[in-house]
Symmetry: C2
């Protein structure tokens, strides 16, 4: 596609939204929900780690991984690729730990697992994210596929990456809605400051995802036109 | 982008998923939720019209409008355009009626309006869908913009259409999750047949949206390569 916008300017918007989203999810879970804990007799504190790691890890770090490396840094191709795969590995690992914390909370509190749409799509997203990472590693990094395989794989790698990323962002919105619906049915004000904070955090996440995809579709100023292009 | 897949084959998958999604949302609301009504002392029947019209109208009809006309029918360009704008108008009108039914149910039952993420994004989607339709009508149909304006507007029309469509599909998933969470907190079985039906309807909607976008990104067999391309 290649939109005629300078990807670097878009990437500044991405970074601002990244900081806003990260601050908001931390304020929500630390100030409103009582804080974060790996082990605690207050099982809610264990759950609180889940939205923090999923948003800051999978969504924000994953978005930066997808675009920063290729669209906004002046490095060489091999260096960009290394940054891309390392950032995505960190995003994936934080996502896996975040999902583990949701199960840990459920199991220690006697809550049911894997009945909600959010949990189903979440398992799908983390599996597809992992598959995408492994395929990318094998074909584009080590041992690396033939030139033809790389060339044919690249548009699908980009498209599938966008698909998984849209699902991840949408699933974070599902998670915010689900948790807030639980909180509202146990009494917090539907029009109160916490409810607004959670809804706006979800909207920032959606805007963040939108600008990540726009950046990915835009023209990197120093894009290498001699090799196969990323989109 | 232009994926090297024949859009017609993909559009068959779209139609099958359309029928599956429509049947599932009807079975849910008629068989499990007691039926549909414009006026009733049982206010739940008024609400039930909302998911039916949003899924069959905005999501399914909107998806068919987006792709069938341009990617899967052997008509001339002017006829395709007319089908495209009429189907989208129907989708938009069904969507507006669907939203009205949610407000009608809330107002007649004394429930709060516009506090949830689903409602916020829903208002955003219907406004953006309307803006997109009006802009498309004025620039591409009547009175019609200059050749340059059309040429410059088209990629943005496609991109913005995809953006609004992704939001619409994601918001239907939010709606299914929200309603099912209410039902589960008032007692229906988290692993029961209704819960599975609702979750799978949402997943069919997501798959439907995915195949709509894939079809839009694919090559129409009789695509007119002499005029500006749709993507």
């Amino acid at each position: 596609m290649g939109l005629e916008i300078n990807a670097v300017y878009l990437s500044y918007v991405v970074h601002v939204l990244a900081v806003a989203g990260a601050v908001m999810v931390l304020v929500w879970n630390i100030h409103f929900r009582g804080g974060l804990a790996w082990e605690s007799s207050n099982k809610n504190l264990i759950f609180n780690v889940h939205p923090v790691l999923m948003l800051i890890g999978l969504v924000i770090m994953g978005g930066e991984a997808a675009i920063v490396s290729y669209k906004a840094l002046p490095f060489k191709k091999a260096e960009k690729k290394l940054i891309h795969l390392i950032l995505h590995a960190i995003a994936l690992i934080l996502g896996i730990i975040g999902i583990y914390m949701a199960f840990k909370n459920h199991n220690e509190s006697g809550l049911a697992n894997l009945y909600s749409l959010h949990s189903w799509i979440g398992i799908g997203v983390i599996v597809l994210y992992g598959v995408q990472w492994i395929y990318g590693f094998l074909v584009f990094f080590y041992p690396g596929g033939t030139g033809d395989l790389r060339k044919e794989s690249l548009p699908w790698h980009v498209l599938f990456g966008m698909f998984v990323y849209i699902l991840a962002v949408a699933n974070s919105a599902l998670g915010f809605l689900e948790k807030l619906t639980f909180l509202e049915s146990s009494g917090i004000d539907k029009y109160g400051s916490e409810a607004f904070l959670v809804n706006f955090t979800a909207i920032i996440a959606v805007l963040y995802g939108t600008f990540v995809l726009l950046t990915a579709l835009s023209r990197a100023p120093a894009e290498d036109h001699h090799s196969y292009s990323a989109i």
